[in-house]
């Protein structure tokens, strides 16, 4: 089956504005959905779920959120970890303080809390730009780290600052087998991916991109930087917050503030850039790259008979070099490689 766009004439703007104008794409996506929702849960072993798929899904959600801010609105943030923490602890507090508070709502509310904080921390972006902003957002990161250790009320007065959450229970359905947890995350991720896709296609998305590409021109065509930037911070933080609460509730189940420390922030920024700025799909590529690659490298190096220390040193080195390598081959991220691939397919067998 060739991948062709020509011959598929759009007779209405609606038809032209759908997410996948090319029917082959639509087929592909349906197939992938099928695999992800049906085949994987049936066939994948526990290790794959717990060690790879679940963290991959949650982190891609966070990366997706961050991508809205960095990729679409051009505001670099290193406070992501902190916002995830806000989401997780927010949801936690709702559940421990209000009896019988529905789980899903709590997770979403976690996102809302994060959104509020995120907008607050976004205010400096109205004045500070680029790397200066990036470093400034670290203030948010470290403040959150500190707050959740020090303000014991936030952790329900646990002596150590660590918190534990009960088993997941959604309207009677207790989500505990790895497959269930995977599906649980998958639903969230798919939903938010769709939402984000819609937003970035909508005029709000164009406002973000306008600010990113040429803020003066954006102002001249009547875009308010305040609204555009802060809305980006809000939406992005919301998604990140939800991801955070999923990370706490579904993946960890019991955590210390360090689970959301600065390394997480960098890891996510990595995903976004390696995956592709300003691309929903890129967030997923990036997450896969950052989550899976080290694990594979580790297992390979160990399998090759190096001792674990040597292996992990090599892993670090190879991982680092690969990052540089990818940035050199395609500074616009894996998503760009993907689109280029599709271009090629369109033209195939003719080179140009």
């Amino acid at each position: 089956m060739f991948y062709r766009e020509n011959g598929q004439f759009k007779t209405s703007y609606v038809a032209d504005q759908q997410i996948f104008p090319v029917w082959q794409d639509r087929v592909a996506i349906v197939f992938l959905l099928g695999v992800a929702f049906i085949a994987v849960p049936l066939l994948a072993p526990e290790y794959l779920f717990r060690a790879i798929l679940i963290p991959f899904l949650i982190l891609s959600l966070a990366a997706l959120g961050l991508n809205i801010l960095v990729g679409y609105c051009g505001q670099i943030s290193l406070g992501t970890g902190g916002l995830m923490a806000v989401g997780a602890y927010g949801a936690y507090n709702l559940l421990v303080r209000i009896d019988g508070f529905p789980l899903i709502l709590a997770l979403v509310m976690g996102g809302v809390f994060a959104a509020v904080i995120g907008v607050l921390f976004g205010i400096p972006s109205l004045r500070i730009r680029g790397l200066y902003l990036a470093v400034a957002t670290l203030a948010a990161q470290f403040f959150c780290d500190w707050a959740f250790l020090r303000i014991t009320w936030l952790t329900n007065n646990s002596s150590s600052g660590s918190v534990n959450v009960a088993g997941l229970n959604v309207a009677g359905w207790s989500v505990d087998t790895p497959a269930e947890r995977y599906l649980f995350c998958l639903v969230f991720v798919s939903f938010f991916a769709l939402i984000s896709k819609n937003l970035v296609r909508g005029h709000i998305g164009r406002e973000w991109m306008a600010i990113r590409d040429m803020d003066v021109a954006a102002a001249v065509i009547g875009i308010r930087p305040v609204y555009a930037k802060l809305s980006a911070f809000g939406v992005s933080s919301f998604i990140i917050g939800v991801a955070g609460s999923l990370w706490g509730f579904v993946y960890l189940g019991s955590w210390e503030p360090a689970a959301f420390n600065i390394d997480r922030s960098f890891q996510l920024l990595f995903m976004v850039i390696i995956g592709g700025l300003g691309s929903v799909m890129g967030s997923f590529f990036g997450a896969a790259f950052i989550v899976v690659l080290p694990i594979v490298l580790d297992q390979v190096t160990v399998a090759l008979g190096f001792d674990t220390a040597l292996a992990s040193h090599l892993t670090l080195m190879i991982f680092g070099s690969l990052i540089v390598f990818f940035l050199i081959v395609e500074p616009h991220g894996l998503a760009r490689l993907w689109t280029l691939g599709k271009e090629k397919m369109r033209l195939w067998p003719f080179p140009h």
Binding site: M209, I221, S231
Partner: protein, 263 residues
């Protein structure tokens, strides 16, 4: 202002004693001139005369230290970009300020943003209203695309387009705002003859079909003399001449200022 090729309306935009400086550097000193409805008003002057700064003051990119700008009777000491846009002033840029990461349609749709009402949630779920709105504005934008004859490039990233076309897209973005006043900052800079002719045609068409008032910064004297109704001449941030093309052409200061540079 007695004789003129066309009948003009009232003064729509009135600039009074504008002075602007960065640190110590004076960019504009006590500039005053007015713009009438439906006319084509040119601002000329050598490089660094402060032409662009003038436009930047008009649509609120810069804030002048002194002076006021009156638009349809409302007077402002400093224009807020948003307000200016809402009042129907659009603008193209000297060295392209397109949204390079977006394709042609998106850039033009950007110009429609002011008119789009659907809120975040409606867009998020892409439900009825948001979708309809998107379509109807898309229709308008397609109209402009046809008008500017850039149909083939619809979905191309503007960064990839040749310079001349980018200039058109820039104009298109301004037009999609349905402006009453259109500020054009050197729309023909770096164009070859044919491109210039096209651009002139577009400008005149806009002016005649939509009755849009046009403020034009241009170096090409030929063009200026042909299409503009009145001309303001700036030099080193000062106004040295104002009037109809032939008047300005005779003005000794202008000649001095342009000695050698005029073509």
């Amino acid at each position: 202002m007695s004789v003129s090729r066309r009948k003009h309306g009232e003064v729509i935009l009135d600039v009074r004693n504008i002075s602007l400086s960065f640190g110590g550097v004076k960019a504009l000193t006590d500039i005053s001139f007015d713009i009438r409805e439906r006319e084509i008003r040119a601002i000329i002057g050598p490089n660094g005369a402060g032409k662009s700064s003038m436009l930047n003051c008009i649509n609120g990119v810069y804030t002048p230290q002194q002076g006021s700008i009156t638009f349809r009777g409302q007077t402002f000491a400093h224009m807020d970009s948003r307000r200016v846009a809402e009042m129907g002033v659009a603008r193209t840029f000297q060295n392209l300020a397109l949204f390079r990461g977006m394709n042609v349609i998106e850039n033009l749709m950007g110009g429609r943003n002011l008119k789009m009402r659907s809120n975040l949630l409606q867009q998020a779920f892409n439900i009825g209203f948001a979708r309809r709105e998107e379509v109807e504005h898309r229709r308008f934008v397609e109209g402009i695309i046809d008008f500017l004859e850039i149909q083939p490039y619809r979905k191309m990233a503007v960064g990839k387009l040749p310079y001349g076309l980018q200039k058109r897209v820039d104009l298109g973005r301004a037009l999609s705002m349905e402006p009453q006043v259109l500020l054009l900052d050197e729309p023909m800079a770096g164009m070859n003859v044919e491109e210039k002719q096209d651009m002139c045609r577009f400008i005149l068409d806009v002016n005649e079909q939509f009755g849009t008032t046009i403020v034009l910064i241009e170096h090409d004297m030929g063009v200026v003399m042909d299409i503009s109704d009145r001309v303001v001449v700036l030099d080193y941030g000062k106004k040295i001449g104002d009037g109809q093309p032939y008047e300005v052409r005779e003005n000794p200061d202008v000649i001095r200022a342009y000695l050698g540079t005029a073509n």
